[in-house]
């Protein structure tokens, strides 16, 4: 019996390990070890360990980069469902977003939710220092929670802005003209505190629910599932 072709197998496992970026080393190593164990099992079954056999075994496992990417996304999404850390949640969503439009949409919505919380926190922090520039501002066509530069013409409002009918942004909607009115005074502290808290909690639950509902359901690699005994037009049976 010839020896296995270690170079090919080692290359495959090295590519797999290298592509599992962001996964805890112990989790990554166990996954790689399991794939290695599978290869050894297949070699045992095949009996012959020549290069063609090894190549066939590796090809039936799938592209190591694709396999590692899916594994990494799975692990990061699983971690994201068990944490309160925005960073861990966003990291998982960032990986999911590379796999399709659903992940991208959830990432954008989650960024907006956490962004709103950051705006609220910044308002809380800055209000004591620049009280005349931080507030809930109503201009002729825009409602903004955040910073006003103090100008009456071409004034800039930065924060979370709403402009009917559809615009809702983090940042600024551009210069605005006309009278600007501050709506809430010192109540801004309570509004921002509640807004930040609710936004953090709601965004976390939204992201985790979307991950459970859509992110962890899809298994892209099994597109190749086929029936080994499928006759022509057997889908009718």
């Amino acid at each position: 019996m010839s020896t296995p072709a270690p170079v090919n197998i080692d290359q495959y496992l090295a590519a797999l390990r290298k592509a599992c970026k962001g996964v805890q080393p112990s989790v990554r190593d166990e996954f790689v070890q399991e794939i290695h164990s599978h290869i050894l099992d297949r070699l045992e079954v095949e009996g012959d360990h020549n290069e063609a056999v090894v190549s066939r075994i590796l090809s039936t496992l799938g592209d190591p980069k694709v396999l590692a990417k899916q594994f990494t996304t799975d692990v990061l999404l699983q971690r994201a469902t068990r944490t309160i850390s925005p960073w861990v949640i966003l990291r998982g969503l960032a990986h999911w977003s590379t796999a399709g439009i659903a992940g991208l949409l959830v990432l954008v919505a989650t960024l907006f939710g956490y962004g709103f919380a950051i705006v609220c926190f910044l308002c809380l922090l800055l209000k004591p220092f620049i009280p005349d520039h931080i507030g809930l501002w109503l201009s002729p066509n825009t409602l903004t929670l955040g910073y006003w530069d103090g100008h009456l013409a071409n004034s800039i409002l930065v924060g979370t802005s709403l402009r009917p009918p559809i615009f809702c942004v983090l940042g600024t909607l551009g210069p605005t003209n006309g009278p600007i009115q501050e709506l809430v005074g010192v109540w801004i502290y309570a509004i921002c505190l509640v807004g930040a808290g609710l936004s953090l909690v709601a965004t976390r639950f939204f992201a985790q629910w979307m991950i459970q509902r859509f992110g962890l359901k899809k298994v892209r690699l099994i597109e190749r599932i086929i029936s080994s005994d499928r006759p022509a037009a057997a889908w009718l049976l």
Binding site: Q33, H38, R42, A232, A233, L236
Partner: protein, 142 residues
């Protein structure tokens, strides 16, 4: 049933692709159930599960995919795993159903049997009718 299949008009490429996609989706949907069911009797390692899926269910897949699904099932608490070194020399990761997985399997199995029975009730008369027509036309030709 195969005589009906042989008498069907040839499918166009587009129709065949749609049929393939439908069947692939159907098989994907049952994969988790099939894996859990394969672990019902005893603990198994990856290649043993793959063999059961291929031989008993006609399911073939990129083999790395199985480990992704097992990883998800483990993360969801449906299966448990342990490394065991047997006579062959290298350690293998064995999977077995957890108590939560047993319950999940029973619920999924029951849902599958109810659903598939209803669909069979719906589709089987159509196929029997087709087969009867086929037999009738064959008899008249002779």
């Amino acid at each position: 049933m195969h005589c009906i299949v042989s008498k069907l008009p040839a499918l166009t490429d587009a129709e065949d692709v749609n049929a393939d996609r439908w069947e692939a989706q159907l098989r994907k949907g049952t994969l988790e159930l099939a894996i859990l069911a394969s672990l019902h009797k005893k603990k198994l390692y990856g290649l043993e599960i793959l063999r059961i899926l291929e031989d008993d269910c006609g399911l073939e897949m990129l083999e790395g995919t199985l480990y992704l699904i097992l990883n998800r099932l483990r993360a969801n608490g449906l299966v448990e795993s342990e490394w065991i070194t047997t006579g062959s020399g290298h350690p293998r990761k064995y999977y077995r159903l957890s108590s939560k997985g047993e319950t999940h399997l029973l619920i999924m199995g029951l849902a599958w049997i109810r659903f598939s029975a209803r669909i069979t009730d719906l589709v089987a008369p159509i196929l029997r009718n087709q087969e009867a027509q086929h037999v009738h036309s064959s008899t008249r030709k002779h």
